[in-house]
Amino acid sequence: MPVPKEQPPWQTLRPKDHRGIELWREADLARRRDNDLRQTDREGIIGRGPRPNDDAGMPGKPHEARMPELKRTALYELHQELGAKMVPFAGYEMPVQYPLGVMKEHLHTRAAAGLFDVSHMGQVILGGTDAAAQLETLVPANIVGLGEGRQRYGLFTNDEGGILDDLMIANRGDHLFLVVNAACKDADVAHMRANLSCPVEVVDDRALLALQGPAAEAVLADIVPEASAMRFMDVIIADSAFGDLWISRSGYTGEDGFEISVTNKQAVALARALLAHDDVEPIGLGARDSLRLEAGLCLYGNDIDTGTSPVEAGLSWSIQKVRRTGGDRSGGFPGAERTLPELENGASRHRVGLAPEGRAPMRDGTQLFDGETAAEPIGHVTSGAFGPTVERPVSMGYVPTAMSEAGTRLFGEVRGKRMPVTVADLPFTPANFKR
């Protein structure tokens, strides 16, 4: 069927029955809070009809005509200049890859350093003297005990013990600084404003860059010498030639690195200064996804959501002893009635790494079985892709606890065929943090 040129490509390329070559689109990257991902096999991957925010990522068309409602980060023009392929993601027009391509971008990040625009993520400041105690009523983590200049991973839980979002929480002396997921940020802010009495300020005049990889420290130290002294999960506010930078030694790739909040006005200049290093390449969301998957890190909307509990998700480590049964500030967060017993007794299913045999990726939605002919699925894949560093497909998913031991052999149904897959330890690639 010929494609009429007048029609925008995101309409013409995806009639309901279209199952041919699907070009770059955000369907696999943009996750929603609702849970329509649990479809079977390829229907969940390529057979879906159009979504309001879906796009085929065809180049050569004016972006204005394609994505009228999408927001842009301060680096939008720079992404275009660098030749990025832009796709809609969580309401933003974001770079999914640059001319290097996902595979090489991924490998470059592990070998040297990659620069990511993560400005779509939400930056929030909680003020007031009791912000930490307040936030503990929504997040099962030790925030009161978080030292000044330190950062910690945490979860917003709901009354059913599911996960509303995952976030980073930094103690910056007289306030907390939070970074939350792009797709969840409006809901997170509303949730905090409805439930906390402390001031909740959305930071909307700053971009967020992630510089990740073994060369990140040396590169950033040229601009911010004190970055070298930071340890994993330290946070500082640094004066620089690019204004005040809010820096944490963290990231979401499994590599050493930094996340840097910079004013929108200075963001492009800072990005250019970092990219000027031979070691630094711009990296898109495609490689960000494969990097975090190899590192065994959860993508909200895929691996964790309102239907998964922290214990099931293997995130018990984010709930410190003081918030558990017997701790000084035990409970007092949404869903504690479920979470506290689960922390003691375990959950009936668990998130695991999955190593498919052969080269075919097992993507999210793939049903898992405990036998080649077993009738009922015992679990499903929540993230799956090809891992460029490990040079084989890697997946994560949920299986019954009895089948969660590394080495357990299962089957995933890919395109109607049962393919062997083995439960594997996470991460697939060892973490390379500066402790």
């Binding site: 069927m1 010929p2 494609v3 199952r19 041919g20 070559i21 699907e22 070009l23 770059w24 689109r25 369907a27 696999d28 990257l29 390829r42 991957i45 390529i46 990522g57 065809m58 180049p59 050569g60 999914v96 890859q97 391509g101 996902v102 595979m103 495609g286 996804d289 494969s290 080269r359 075919a360 990726p361 993507r363 892709a385 090809f386 460029p388 497909p393 395109r415």
Partner: protein
């Protein structure tokens, strides 16, 4: 060389046709990591999904461009799926097929028409 709306190319090779995907499609798909090819000798109907191609982020199908019989497949893609990106019009071919009605190939797009479609 002839082209389909599904971004395939067909090139005559004696009395059969070699089929692959275009440079444009290969570039759009991104790095190809896995290709599943049809059985040699299988009869296929136009629009049957006969090849599965997995790139770093998406699974796609390649459809049979016309009715016919698969007479050979490119086994090199099993170990080297990246050939699809490196040389889509050459070493990255997918299969050779005998087409039932060879005159139907003439009705497909020529290069100019394909270029107009993707521009």
């Amino acid at each position: 060389m002839k082209f389909t709306e599904e971004h395939e190319w067909l090139r005559a090779d004696g009395d059969v046709f070699i089929v692959g995907i275009t440079e444009y499609a290969a570039e759009q798909l991104g790095d190809v990591v896995f290709v599943e090819l049809p059985e040699e000798g299988s009869d296929v109907k136009k629009d049957d999904e006969i090849v599965v191609i997995e790139s770093v982020k998406v699974a796609s199908d390649i459809k049979a461009p016309l009715d016919g019989t698969i007479i050979a497949v490119n086994d090199k893609l099993g170990d080297a799926p990246a050939l699809v990106n490196e040389d889509p019009l050459g070493e990255g071919w997918f299969f050779k097929m005998r087409i039932d009605d060879a005159s139907a190939v003439e009705a497909l797009m020529d290069e100019a028409a394909y270029k107009a479609m993707i521009s």
